[in-house]
């Protein structure tokens, strides 16, 4: 599934990386605990989270996560957006909650990360 399709399904605003919407996302994980992301992630996946601090971008970069969706209409600060641009990690913002956003993507055919 492309990031463009994900943005459409989640009716999301693209706040960073609008030129990179053709990237393919193979799976996704939903978490607010960054250690859980580092433990359970699969490379090239999408992270769905409610946390918007810059260290979320760093976690994504270290884990090899391709893109991040911020839920509940949370808008990241300028420092987070700037870091995401530098690290070329597109950011989407959706009004849906984590459960609904995950459910919509799963229903559209985007599987979860394979654990362990």
């Amino acid at each position: 599934m492309t990031l463009r399709e994900i943005a459409e399904i989640l009716e999301a605003d693209v706040v960073a990386g609008s030129d990179d919407l053709d990237v393919t996302i193979k799976n996704a994980c939903s978490a607010d605990m960054m250690s859980a992301v580092l433990y359970y992630h699969t490379p090239d996946s999408l992270l769905i989270t409610g946390l918007t601090q810059p260290h979320v971008i760093r976690t994504a970069e270290i884990a090899g996560i391709k893109s991040i969706v911020f839920v509940l209409d949370k808008k990241p600060g300028a420092d987070t957006i700037e870091l995401a641009r530098q690290k070329k990690i597109p950011i989407l913002c959706t009004r849906f909650c984590m459960y609904t956003a995950s459910g919509k993507l799963y229903e559209a055919g985007l599987p979860g990360c394979l654990f362990k």
Partner: protein, 141 residues
């Protein structure tokens, strides 16, 4: 890669703004050296978790890495409260992190298990009231 490449970082407790700097620099260094991507990811994750533990729990710490032909060695010493029961701390989900740390997305009790999971050799030594020393070895072949 016949010679040893090394580097070190000072980590200040509570400084979330720079969290991940050491691991990102190590990641760039390993990329420069042409190390396999999966190994780089393991090293970056283990280093990031180690950094976060110093930021969350300690006053300060030092991270030092050595890379040679065979392995990556990462050593972290901190001036922190120490760990009373290492066996318990190594259990997935066990954490002593305060609520404000959890609200930032850390303190899930996965840090030490995650470091071990990504290491080929993992050693931890801690003295309550003095600090904790961790050594992570990741083989390159």
């Amino acid at each position: 890669m016949d010679e040893t490449t090394e580097g070190s970082f000072q980590i200040i407790g509570g400084n979330f703004g720079n969290a991940g700097e050491a691991s990102m620099q190590l990641k760039s260094k390993l990329t420069e050296l042409g190390v396999n991507e999966a190994i780089i990811r393991r090293a970056a994750i283990a280093t990031f978790e180690a950094e976060m533990n110093v930021i969350i729990y300690a006053a300060a710490g030092r991270l030092h890495y050595y890379i040679n032909r065979d392995k990556i060695t990462i050593k972290i010493d901190d001036m922190g409260p120490g760990i009373e029961n290492i066996e318990l701390a190594m259990q997935e989900g066990y954490s002593t992190a305060p609520d404000w740390v959890r609200e930032m997305g850390w303190g899930a009790g996965m840090g030490l298990p995650n470091m071990k999971k990504n290491s080929d050799e993992f050693r931890i030594d801690s003295v309550v009231g003095e600090g904790t020393t961790i050594e992570i070895v990741i083989n390159l072949s």
